[in-house]
């Protein structure tokens, strides 16, 4: 019985938790935290349940909300692809929720230094649950308009969450709000055009209607596609539409960055894949429109731009933000290579990049939490002070560089294979250059962490002196999710074949094989 209701429970639990936190936990930070972690944990368990069902039966789940039949009612459609993304989003949200125990009370209540506003903490958790609801909804829904609604739910709650960072976060978030709203408008407009032409908003239904030759010729449909894809690109910060991202994510509080940075962009990539292949079709996009060459070049530019900009940053979070810009290029390019390997790489990279980014943001967050400094030099001597955090950071860094057996290697493997197959050497070279730049970026930090300060060294009498270790590690509530995330990077890598044949590879549209 409950098994049939699992899809909606994944969304309902965090939604209800946001109400519960507002109603019952306004006074208690701990109660709010417990509710959040409980809800995220349950949602994660349900998502795994849904994935198990899909793996066991091999069938796509259609869940009709309120038992209204499509195409008029809203339905959730869960196949292998979004089952994986659901597990990813709920899992990452769960880990970040645990991680938030110490950082949120330390950062969020202070609008200005010294001025404590305690209710900001429960409010924060309410928004957190709402944001996750929105993200899970975008992933689960099979309705194009419903997707817009959930996109706005997640976007609005993310504006508020990001602005809670205080200081410069207000201005950065305002810019994001303007740009994000423009993106959402583009998307809505595109869906509106489709509705005018087809009279439907249900994705499977739209797909069937759009196959008619008259519509495939229609300029309205083409413009609808352009609007939708531009809207999504703005939302995912695809170069050159990325300008809002670095500031918005850099000035956010630690937990917000950990939640928003890995998930928002990845969910947008999922949206792109879903709309491209489940509403439109590979045939329509790659054969009829044929923009793939240009888009892949743009993706290569995104990769190079993001990587080179990251190299120039001295703020750790901002550096990671530019790496995200580059990684978005990886995924967009992979999808638009228009072959199976590229799409597999991009889809697998949704999973691996989300976890890598999460891992690095968590490690950096722990460093900032302990040192109060977000610059590269906060990492000085980190290997002695925070050994566990630094190992987590190194694993995340190796995944970003793409050293086997971490997951980053395998996504790169598929992406480069796809590029070779498509004879798109520019993209292949961009991927390799980006790996090299990542190696420089991260080894520079590892070097700062590994070598002691020079003045310190002279002061203590040469290299024989620094055996005195002062360990000041982050609290357990931060270490546990961090270590789990780091281990998952290796697990996702070692099980890449299972993930790809069992989940990712099952949803490759027929036109690409």
């Amino acid at each position: 019985m409950i098994k049939e209701q699992l899809p909606i429970l994944i969304l309902a639990v965090p939604l209800l938790a946001s109400f519960a936190i507002t109603l019952f936990a306004r006074k208690s930070k701990i109660a709010a935290f417990a509710l959040l972690v409980g809800a995220m944990g349950m949602s994660f368990v349900f998502a795994i349940g849904v994935m198990r069902q899909i793996l066991d039966t091999g069938r796509v789940i259609h869940y009709h909300i309120g038992n209204w039949q499509p195409p008029f009612g809203i339905e959730l459609v869960i196949d292998h692809l979004n089952a994986m993304v659901l597990v990813l989003v709920s899992g990452a949200a769960f880990l970040t929720a645990i991680y938030s125990k110490n950082t949120v009370p330390a950062e969020v209540p202070y609008r200005f230094p010294g001025e404590e506003v305690p209710e900001r903490v429960p409010n924060y958790y309410t928004l957190y649950a709402l944001l996750v609801t929105g993200l899970l909804g975008i992933v689960a829904t099979g309705d194009a308009f419903n997707m817009f609604v959930l996109l706005e739910i997640s976007a609005l709650s993310s504006y508020a969450l990001l602005a809670l960072g205080g200081g410069r976060a207000y201005f950065a978030t305002f810019k994001y709000l303007i740009v994000g709203t423009i993106g959402a408008c583009f998307y809505l407009l595109g869906v509106g055009y489709l509705y005018i032409k087809t009279g439907s908003l249900n994705m499977p239904d739209l797909k069937v209607i759009l196959t008619s030759p008259a519509l495939a010729e229609s300029p309205t449909v083409m413009i609808a596609f352009m609007l939708i894809i531009t809207g999504i690109w703005i939302k995912m910060a695809f170069f050159p539409l990325h300008g809002w991202l670095p500031n918005a994510y850099t000035y956010a509080s630690t937990t917000t960055s950990c939640l928003v940075a890995p998930l928002m962009t990845k969910v947008s990539v999922y949206m792109m894949i879903r709309l491209m292949f489940s509403v439109f079709s590979a045939h329509y996009i790659f054969d009829r429109l044929g923009w793939q060459n240009g888009v892949v070049w743009l993706a290569a530019a995104a990769i190079l731009f993001g990587s080179i900009s990251a190299l120039g940053q001295t703020n750790l979070k901002r550096m990671l933000c530019y790496i995200i810009v580059a990684e978005v290029g990886y995924m967009v390019g992979g999808v638009w290579l228009a072959n199976a390997d590229g799409l597999i790489g991009a889809t697998y990279h949704i999973l691996s990049d989300a976890m890598m980014t999460l891992c690095l943001f968590m490690a950096v967050g722990a460093v900032i939490y302990k040192t109060g400094d977000a610059s590269l030099y906060a990492m000085r001597g980190i290997f002695r002070k925070m050994p566990v955090t630094s190992v987590v950071f190194v694993i995340g860094a190796l995944a970003m560089i793409g050293i086997p057996p971490t997951c980053g290697f395998f996504s790169k493997w598929y992406l480069v294979s796809g590029a070779i197959e498509a004879r798109h050497w520019g993209f292949a070279v961009a991927l390799l250059i980006s790996s090299l730049i990542n190696a420089v970026i991260f080894f520079r930090i590892i070097e700062i962490g590994y070598f002691p300060l020079f003045d310190e060294q002279e002061g203590e009498g040469g290299h024989h002196a620094h055996d005195r270790a002062v360990i000041a590690e982050a609290p357990f509530s931060m270490l546990l999710p961090m270590v789990l995330t780091a281990l998952s990077l290796i697990a996702i890598g070692l099980y890449s074949n299972e993930i790809i044949t069992g989940l990712v590879g099952r949803t490759i549209p027929a036109g690409l094989l």
Binding site: I403, S435, L436, A439, N497
Partner: protein, 492 residues
């Protein structure tokens, strides 16, 4: 299936045993004797596991152990064959000797962070054995990268400005070539062949264009920069800032030999020696490697820092091995592969001696070592024997394999390679003998050391004597390693 004379997971265990020792090493960090005991225990278990497979391999079998499938048609898997066995034997034997030496050296100089040192040393050994037992290119690449990363903290052990520069150079060269050249070459190979498993007949389909093969060959040769082919060699002298036991094991044996081993694997297992000789690809290998042999030997002549001279000598000898395998003739391959072992024992002796001199006198430069042989006779005698082996003079084991390689050059009908071998051997003699000559043949007044100077601690002197003795032993019983190498060409 016949029962195996060793546990089914023996290759994996041989890799993991030194990783398993790391927690023990870290936990007993405050009790140095217990800590070093774990290193030795792991070393002997590792050697035992390797030896347990030796007989089975020598009987002409190969053994494959699959770990997990990571890509379609491609898994992480371990294969033990003659070449891998040869290399694993060398590495695991020398780890024990080096650990002994490390104790003498690190304690003699009262180095900091010794726990970290032994931990990463153990990790590096795991990676080395992993490369030796890799069953396909992907697995090898994985362990190859692991080795680069795990040796970085060893190279930069001193944590001062010089170490920082050396370490930076080290990673820049190794990572940029492996990511920039070896990885794409591997991907293209996989796209062409559909597999990356090593096969003595090569894996490329017959219709592969020759131009593609040439490009791939060059990418692979330069991509595994641990082999130190010029112009990607200069990380090696830079990495000499490491403590001497690290230089000895990692930079004369494990790291650089992993590079050579990887290239050897690619030449024999990916291209296949038939393809190399029929498509005349062997000429390309010989020109690239031959250039390095001559130029590095010339550079070595002018080095005054003993460790740097040894480093350049290593660069030359590495290409020597590649040259042998790259000849793609039976004798060349046998000679090249077994020269890995001969050179390892010879060169590690030399490094041990350089370190022993440093511990006893603090001297690094050859020009400051006049008369050292009078004060440290055992050390310098071992140095002499090691030098003989590297040059290829009796009674050093190096002679046997150098002869084989030279005959291989004639077998392959590439006479210019023969000339390279001869010139290089002369140069080797030219840069080693003056050291030995000045160490012993000088009057009491000319000697730069007063009578107080004596041999380094026992644990610094014994290891070079042992490895020198083994070098001589290999002259009389070269079959120990040559037989393994011969397995790789039977049936071709």
């Amino acid at each position: 299936m016949a029962t195996l004379p060793f546990p089914e997971a023996a290759p994996l265990l041989a890799i993991l045993v030194s990783i398993a020792a790391i927690p023990l090493i870290v936990l007993s960090g405050s009790k140095p004797n217990l800590r070093e005991f774990w290193t030795f225990l792991a070393g002997f278990i590792k050697l035992g596991l390797v030896l347990s497979m030796a007989g089975y391999i020598l009987a002409g079998n190969t053994y494959t152990y699959e770990l997990c499938k990571v890509l379609p048609g491609l898994s992480l898997k371990l294969t033990v064959d003659g070449f891998g066995m040869l290399f694993a034997l060398v590495a695991s034997t020398l780890w024990i000797v080096t650990s002994m030496y490390s104790i003498g050296y690190m304690r003699g100089l009262d180095e900091h962070a010794q726990t970290r040192y032994y931990s990463f040393f153990a990790l590096a050994l795991s990676a080395t054995i992993g490369v030796a037992f890799s069953g396909n290119l992907l697995t090898m690449y994985l362990f190859y990268e692991l080795l680069s990363l795990s040796t970085y903290p060893l190279v930069t052990h001193h944590q001062d400005q010089e170490a920082r520069t050396g370490g930076r150079k080290y990673l820049t060269y190794l990572l940029s070539t492996s990511i920039g050249l070896a990885l794409p070459a591997m991907l293209v190979t996989y796209a062409l062949a559909g597999t990356l498993d090593f096969n003595v007949h090569g894996i490329f389909p017959a219709e592969t264009a020759k131009s593609t093969l040439v490009i791939l060959l060059i990418m692979f040769l330069y991509g595994f920069a641990k082999a130190g082919i010029m112009p990607f060699h200069s990380w090696l002298p830079g990495a000499m800032v490491a403590p001497t036991p690290v230089s000895a094991l990692l930079h004369a044996v494990a790291v650089v030999k992993v590079g050579v081993f990887s290239i050897g694997r690619i030449l024999t297992g990916i291209f296949g020696i038939d393809l190399l000789s029929t498509a005349s690809l062997n000429v390309i290998v010989c020109v690239i490697a031959g250039f390095t042999v001559i130029v590095s030997s010339l550079i070595a002549l002018s080095q005054d820092n003993l460790k740097r001279r040894l480093a350049f000598s290593t660069v030359g000898q590495l290409s020597y091995i590649i040259l042998g395998i790259g000849l793609a003739s039976q004798l060349g391959v046998i000679g090249g592969m077994s020269h890995i072992a001969m050179h390892a024992f010879g060169k590690i002796t030399l490094f041990f001696c350089a370190g022993a001199i440093f511990v006893a006198t603090g001297k690094k430069y050859i020009s400051e070592m006049k008369g050292i042989g009078r004060r440290m006779p055992f050390t310098m005698a071992a140095f002499f024997v090691g030098a003989l082996s590297v040059i290829g003079l009796p009674p050093g084991g190096g002679l046997i394999t150098k002869l084989q390689m030279a005959s291989g050059a004639m077998q392959a009908d590439l006479l210019f390679v023969l000339v390279i071998y001869l010139v290089s051997s002369l140069l080797n003699a030219a840069y080693f003998f003056p050291i030995v000559y000045n160490a012993f043949f000088c009057t009491e007044e000319e000697a730069m050391f007063d009578k107080k100077v004596a041999e380094a601690p026992m644990l610094c002197v014994l290891p070079p004597v042992i490895t020198a003795a083994i070098s001589v032993g290999l002259f009389f019983f070269p079959g120990l390693f040559v037989d393994f190498a011969r397995l790789m060409v039977t049936g071709l």
